[in-house]
């Protein structure tokens, strides 16, 4: 066989594999719609679940996921913003300490999420005596999404052209007004990207909250910070474990489609903001 024939065979092979990947992924998304849509009866999104989740809607679970992820970002945002501004504005560009902090961010980002659940429960739930509750879950998620926010924020701040800073310095800005007048406004879109990606990550997380923030049935609404929250993720988890029961698996597909939709919408919006950020910094 000559080189050209080999070339053609290999090209056909890797082309076929790529095609197979695309088909597989389209299949996964397609299956979500095919299986999930039948669960959407009138008011699926706005009714409470009945019968241990086998019938009714997912209203409280959906709201629970939303409030849990929103509070997590609320805790995480000031810490992420402060630490990134400290690292970029107050530490020198290639110092050892900054390098160390960057590595720490990467390691925290890759840490298996169940470990946040374990350690977070021990610290917030047992030592601070918050138990299985909204506040425990949201604090755990806040630590978990911290690196996501940090990486986006840092990208945004470091993408800022040096001439902007120089202009500020030429005007005699103090470090504080440099941050307030130049860095924060210029990096706004990048920060929105980070927040949205953090929300998406918190919304998709199950392992860290399944024994720290939620109980399955019997609760509707957290009356206070120290009550458990129902969430879509754990709802799906419980229903998926009864996979033999067609009613429960149908409800699980419906809830899964809602969750996937939420994550995709957040991610795509984040990307829209990121494109905007890149466009601004290239001007």
């Amino acid at each position: 066989m000559n080189a050209i024939a080999v070339e053609k065979v290999v090209l056909a092979f890797i082309g076929a594999v790529t095609f197979f990947i695309v088909v597989l992924l389209v299949f996964i998304l397609g299956i979500m719609f095919v299986k999930g849509l039948p669960a959407f009866h009138a008011g699926f999104l706005f009714e409470e679940s009945r019968d241990f989740g086998h019938s009714g809607g997912i209203f409280y679970q959906a709201v629970g996921t939303l409030i849990l992820m929103a509070t997590a970002v609320l805790w995480s945002l000031p810490v992420a913003l402060g630490s990134v501004l400290f690292q970029t504005e107050y530490l020198s560009r290639s110092g050892k300490f900054k390098n160390f902090l960057t590595q720490l961010t990467y390691i925290l980002n890759a840490t298996p999420t169940i470990l946040f659940g374990l350690v977070g429960y021990l610290f917030f739930g047992v030592y601070l005596d918050k138990g299985v509750s909204w506040v425990t879950g949201s604090l755990i998620l806040a630590v978990m999404i911290l690196p996501t926010l940090q990486v986006s924020f840092r990208e945004a701040v470091e993408a800022l052209p040096e001439k902007y800073r120089e202009a500020g310095m030429a005007l005699g800005f103090s470090r504080l007004s440099q941050i307030r007048r130049i860095i924060l406004p210029q990096c706004f879109y990048g920060m929105v990207t980070g927040v949205l990606l953090g929300l998406a990550r918190a919304a998709g997380e199950t392992a860290a909250i399944m024994f720290t923030a939620t109980t399955f049935s019997g609760i509707q609404w957290p009356q206070s910070f120290s009550d458990p929250v129902p969430t879509l993720q754990t709802h799906i988890l419980v229903l998926a474990q009864e996979a033999a029961n067609p009613e429960s698996i149908a409800q699980a597909w419906g809830a899964g489609l809602v969750l996937l939709g939420l994550v995709f919408i957040l991610t795509l919006t984040a990307w829209a903001f990121r494109t905007r950020m890149v466009m601004e910094s290239e001007q």
Binding site: F13, G15, I21, L104, L118, Y121, I236, A252
Partner: protein, 298 residues
């Protein structure tokens, strides 16, 4: 030492380091982040002391996990290694072929679209994969291989392979793309075909980046809890070389038993010991992966 530390801080306008109040607030925020990250490791370490003291090395080598009597983590460690190994073996040829095709043969507009879809899919929650696994993969594997139970280590490996495919593909594609254009041009000038260029020039050049991509994928696969927990069968035993039996991984064990042990006793300490083992392995994998990737992008 003092000089080295001083070099770490940026100087203000007048050459001094006069920090304003806001600077201190930021420093406190940074401290909180530092405490979160370091505290995670320290907590795991401190909390797993009781079990290591009572079991010694037997904690990692023991085969029996009987709550209240003895804690041996070998079944979980073997399970994690097998499942992750299977996932890597399954994903590697597929992801590399896909990455090669995407970076070398696809038009730029197509390439961007493929990358976008891959990155979107990398964010799909684990619970969704778990649901797909429970509904299709377990049933499919049970029927095709004629097993009694579809919840096997092999099922978990397949599911993880699908889960980490987007991550590995998109990162290895980045590595392939980072090979400078001059290398392509030089290879073309020598009369090499596209495939020869890819095989002889691009692949060797981007090997560190690909290794990094694989390590990060392995890290993600090793830590995945929910999807694995739903399909692995959750049976504590050392599986040997038969992958078509139920097993247990470290995260799935943690997910199953954390709610029972909650917060106290030797059982909890044993779970923390498992967590520490997992944390160390994943941290090392990630650290090495990032080093490889950084080297390839330079």
């Amino acid at each position: 030492m003092k000089v080295a530390l001083e070099n770490d801080f940026r100087r203000g306008l007048s050459g001094t380091r006069n920090w304003d109040l806001v600077g201190w607030v930021f420093a406190v925020m940074n401290l909180i982040f530092l405490i979160c990250a370091v505290g995670l490791g320290c907590f795991l370490l401190v909390e797993s002391v009781p079990v290591v003291r009572s079991e010694g090395l037997g904690f990692w080598l023991g085969e029996n996990w009987w709550v209240g009597e003895t804690f041996g983590a070998l079944p979980m460690i073997c399970g994690s290694l097998i499942v992750t190994g299977l996932a890597v073996i399954l994903v590697l040829p597929v992801a590399l072929s896909g990455a090669l095709f995407t970076s070398e043969y696809l038009l730029p507009s197509f390439r961007r679209r493929v990358k976008g879809v891959m990155e979107l899919l990398a964010g799909v929650p684990g619970i969704i994969y778990g649901l797909l696994g429970v509904s299709f993969l377990t049933v499919g594997i049970k029927d095709v291989l004629n097993l009694l139970d579809g919840n096997t280590l092999f099922t978990a490996g397949c599911l993880l392979a699908i889960m980490i495919l987007p991550t590995v593909l998109t990162l290895s594609e980045d590595a392939l793309r980072s090979v400078p254009a001059e290398f392509h041009e030089a290879a073309e000038g020598l009369g090499l075909t596209k495939l020869q260029t890819a095989w002889r020039v691009v692949l060797p050049q981007s090997l560190p980046g690909i290794a990094g991509a694989i390590l990060l994928g392995v890290g993600r696969a090793m830590g995945e809890t929910i999807a694995v927990m739903l399909v692995v069968g959750s049976l504590d035993r050392v599986p040997g070389f038969n992958f078509f039996v139920s097993g247990q991984t470290i995260p799935s064990k943690l997910g199953r038993e954390a709610a029972e042990a909650l917060g106290s006793g030797l059982h909890w300490s044993a779970l923390m010991g498992l967590g520490l083992t997992l944390f160390l392995v994943v941290a090392i994998l990630t650290f090495c992966g990032n080093i490889f990737i950084r080297r390839s992008s330079q």
